[in-house]
Amino acid sequence: MYKYQLHLLFFIFFMGTSLWAKTIEVCASCEVKSIKEGIALATDFDTLLIKKGTYREFNIVVDKPLTLIGENCPIIDGEDRGEIIRVVSDNVTVDGLYIINVGTSYTTDYAAIRVVKSENFLIQNVVLEKLFFGIYLERSNNGKVYHNKIIGDALDEYNSGNGIQLWYSHHVQVDRNIVQGVRDGIYLEFSDNIAINNNISTNNLRYGLHFMFSNDDVYTGNTFENNGAGVAVMFSKGIKMERNIFKRNWGTAAFGMLLKEINDAEIIGNTFEENTIGINIEGSNRIVYKNNNFISNGWAVKVLGACYTNSFINNNFLYNSFDISYNSKLNDNVFEKNYWSNYTGYDLDKDGIGDVPYRPVKLFSYVVNRTPETIILLRSMFMDIIDFSEKVSPVFTPDNLLDAMPLMKRSE
């Protein structure tokens, strides 16, 4: 130990003064045997190289700008005793750690890695298992959460946490993470200008992605599959959602995506496949839906309450049990040039646009809204006859709810 310190002093003398950060190795047989010890020893901008092994530590506070790098996936075992890493300094990098056994509490949100009031952080290549909360960003901006794998084993909502949570954090990139088996895969609250790209959020108890009061965020290329309720975007403005995949979110209150009080959003090029409800829209206005694919959903789009000036253009509605469901007789939304696989019209002038308008709301969807058990009569001849008569002379469905220019072929 003494020898090492001498060595260290020597090192600092040479390198530290010339602004070169030094590397501290941590391992069972090294001089520095624990991460906490390493952090205590380190000075700003040093690198902690954590070697393969198991470190039974918790409440590790990173209070100076350091780089924590795991070599060959060292395990940090919190032994269920509480939070594991807390970053309270700017410019911290956490890389390549395997963190397990985060403590569960009903009063404190213990996280595997918590970043508090810090800037320019980078958390990458981290694997989290047996966790409560995963990566928790609190009032921290301009950072990046990249290529992490969070695998929870949550069973009940009340005693489980979220995979990646952002709270009052802005300008953060969340990219290429895999999150599964937690309560909400990715949760945003009061966080603006966030980019969420290429993540895979599956098998979570509640939402794959959950937005609350967060504006001007972008999420693209993510996959949300088999989450308890899908993706919820609520009380937010100016969100862009592009090329995401929402798949197999099944259940009573499950949907590919829930939009609640969302204004001025763009939803472009997404795929909604085999969800009970593709998109559930409540009180959302001025949203553009373009080039999305709705495939084999129970309800492709369910519109509840007042939703104004939304436009659905160039989408593909393929083999959904119901294309659109409305619960009111009013319609202020535009449907244009979509492809509907249920369309049976013709195109005599061969311009690729059907000559007869398509009415996407079936009477049967009203009946099912009223008496859910009637779903069992789906696709029966009787219902087809009733739907046909409603198509010919609409009584229950909004008269102007139609696609006057239905495409004859799928839009690419």
């Binding site: 197999r248 099944w250 009970t276 084999s296 393929l318 696989s341 009637t374 069992i376 696709r379 001849m381």
Partner: protein, 260 residues
């Protein structure tokens, strides 16, 4: 019985109607696939055809065959043959040739189209199995009607009425009762009501494949149990088998006691 089956089958294979039926399905399959170019859409359209047309054709064809082969039946009755074998043989001959027309007529275009490379094959196989069951059931029901009615016109009338009832009216009454009693928990009722109509039952079986996303949206615990697990599939298929066996059993019971 096998001999009767053989001869009825040969007889039917020679008759124009088997070919008409076969060609109809063949044409339908080709039209659906090559005009649409969309396997999934074709499967959905086929479902409608199967749950509406298959019962209709089976009923009419069954009644027609039974009445037309009256003399043949009498010829056979004077032969040293068991009565039940005669009727079961004829039944299997008709049902078999209809099923064959259905499976081959629809199967060929789909195989040519490249069904085996597609993952729609399971939906499609389920459709064909359901169609086969419906054929078996409705031919059996038709034979039952015909054996109980000497009068051809009456027999045809009842047969068409039966089809109309099971294909349309039943669902209308079903819907009405669901809406009328909507305050009550209805999921056991609606599942039970489905079981009592082979067309609804087949439809449900297909829904399990095509519309499972929508079905799982409903809250009822019994629904969830039924649709969310293999229970639905098992119960439906068992009931379909019952629906096939019971009319056949009644047919052979009636056949033993009928005067010719």
């Amino acid at each position: 019985m096998l001999k009767i089956l053989k001869y009825s089958f040969y007889d039917l294979m020679r008759s124009r109607w088997s070919y008409v039926y076969f060609l109809f399905y063949l044409a339908l399959g080709f039209v659906l696939l090559f005009l649409n170019n969309d396997l999934s859409k074709a499967v959905i359209t086929l479902m409608n055809v199967i749950i509406v047309l298959v019962p209709l054709i089976s009923t009419i064809f069954g009644v027609m065959y039974f009445y037309n082969s009256k003399e043949f039946t009498e010829l056979l009755l004077a032969q040293p043959l068991k009565r039940s074998s005669i009727f079961l043989g004829q039944y299997l001959g008709v049902a078999g040739s209809l099923t064959l027309s259905l499976v081959l007529g629809l199967g060929l275009p789909f195989v040519l189209y490249g069904l085996f490379k597609s993952d729609t094959i399971w939906d499609f196989s389920l459709l064909l199995i359901t169609g086969a069951f419906l054929t078996l059931i409705f031919v059996a029901l038709a034979f039952n009607i015909a054996i109980s009615n000497e009068n051809k016109i009456k027999g045809f009338g009842y047969a068409v009425l039966l089809w109309l009832f099971l294909a349309v009216i039943y669902d209308g009454l079903f819907l009405m009762s669901l809406i009328l009693f909507e305050e009550y928990p209805l999921d056991s009722f609606s599942l039970a009501a489905t079981m009592f109509n082979p067309i609804d039952l087949s439809r449900t079986l297909i829904l399990l494949k095509l519309d499972i996303s929508a079905l799982l949206g409903y809250t009822g615990a019994i629904f969830k149990q039924f649709f969310g697990t293999y229970t639905g599939l098992t119960v439906s298929i068992t009931t379909l088998i019952l629906w096939t066996v019971l009319p056949i059993w009644r047919l052979s019971y009636k056949a033993k006691r009928k005067d010719f």
